[in-house]
């Protein structure tokens, strides 16, 4: 998922050349308060002009604790928008946003349901993330580590020890709701080795994708979060062995000398599903 500043025509017009699965057009932190009107009009005209989408289109609006969010939504909600990213999300905000989106969808005769991706970036949001993941329209949760660290009054580090608990809690909550846990961006855009290590850590804790703040990060993130060919081959062997075992009426079977049981089969199914999603099967 690549963040693009909402007031940057160059990035907007080139957004379809990046190999990210989602484009997040940012009306919040990337846009100066004096330019919010300009960014909204630019995004509106960009959407009007958009003929074909190559990636999921997400708009990060300003938080519901600001005076900007209503104008943001009024300007940009249309059938080309797949999801709204909500900063500093709380359960109450998500319920309110759901109602606003329902009204706008009805008024504008939008037939699809626009999703919501809340950002957990406050300690109090993390404490209600188990409820956040089950709110209407919520399709994934993004960890916002910069604001979260600031709220905790801790230093943000490359090692990321300070966000271990937040990553874990978000990952577990999202897994329970069967939605994606989206990892926080890695802010050093010139350190791709550090980025790969950061991805590894996030993956090991259960994060399912990662946001990027620079196009240079997309390749590393895609490589790290996509299943490798070796893993896909393993998953195919497991599923084929399951088919063969079913035909023979076998309850238990082994692959590569290891017993295969239900959790292994489910893991293989998830890998294949993910590979299909990323078009790498």
């Amino acid at each position: 998922m690549l963040f693009i500043p909402g007031n940057n025509p160059s990035m907007l017009q080139n957004s379809d050349v990046f190999e990210s699965d989602s484009i997040i057009i940012d009306l919040e932190d990337a846009v100066n308060v004096m330019e919010k009107d300009s960014a909204r009009n630019l995004v509106r005209c960009y959407l009007d002009n958009l003929k074909e989408k190559k990636a999921e289109l997400v708009i990060r609006i300003n938080g519901l604790d600001t005076t900007y969010y209503n104008d943001d939504l009024n300007q940009i909600i249309c059938d080309k928008v797949d999801a709204i990213m909500l900063p500093k999300a709380h359960v109450a905000d998500l319920k309110k946003l759901d109602e606003i989106l329902t009204d706008l969808e009805n008024q504008r005769k939008i037939t699809k349901k626009i999703k919501i991706i809340p950002i957990v970036e406050l300690a109090e949001s993390l404490l209600e993330v188990e409820k956040i993941v089950f709110q209407n329209r919520v399709d994934g949760v993004l960890l916002g580590a910069e604001d979260f660290s600031s709220d905790l009054e801790v230093v943000r580090t490359k090692g990321g020890e300070e966000i271990f608990y937040a990553r874990s809690r978000i990952a577990v909550s999202c897994a329970a709701a069967k939605i994606d846990a989206i990892d926080t961006p890695f802010t050093d855009t010139k350190d791709n080795i550090g980025l790969a290590k950061d991805c590894e850590k996030a993956i090991s804790l259960g994060m399912k994708s990662k946001s990027c703040i620079h196009p240079n990060q997309i390749e590393v993130v895609n490589e790290m979060f996509s299943p490798s060919q070796k893993t896909i081959d393993w998953a195919k062997r497991i599923l084929q062995a399951k088919i063969d075992a079913d035909k023979k009426g076998l309850g238990a079977f082994s692959v590569d000398g290891k017993m295969v049981d239900k959790p292994v089969i489910e893991r293989a199914q998830k890998i294949i599903k993910k590979a299909e999603k990323y078009h790498i099967l």
Binding site: P9, Q13, N41, L42, C45, Y46
Partner: protein, 85 residues
């Protein structure tokens, strides 16, 4: 005096300045004027028609902006002009 300005002089953007006038006056400054000058003027004129505006001076300092950017910057400049004292 009422005035509205929007956009930047960055690449792929346009800086648009508008002022009230007795009729429509459009001035375009662009490094690619020979190729796209008329298209830029048409985009500006179409946008003014959409907004029912017939009395305005428009200065467009273009840095290779696409139509959607010129339209957006013009709309913003007009909104800002209306709000200015």
């Amino acid at each position: 005096m009422k005035i509205g300005i929007a956009g930047t002089m960055e690449s792929s953007d346009a800086l648009i300045t508008v002022r009230p006038s007795e009729k429509i006056n459009i001035k375009v400054e662009s490094t690619v004027f020979d190729y796209f000058g008329e298209q830029i003027k048409k985009t500006i004129l179409d946008t003014l028609n959409e907004l029912n505006i017939a009395n305005i001076d428009v200065l467009c300092q273009d840095k290779g902006a696409l139509d959607f950017t010129i339209k957006a910057r013009l709309i913003t400049a007009i909104e800002r002009m209306k709000k200015s004292v």
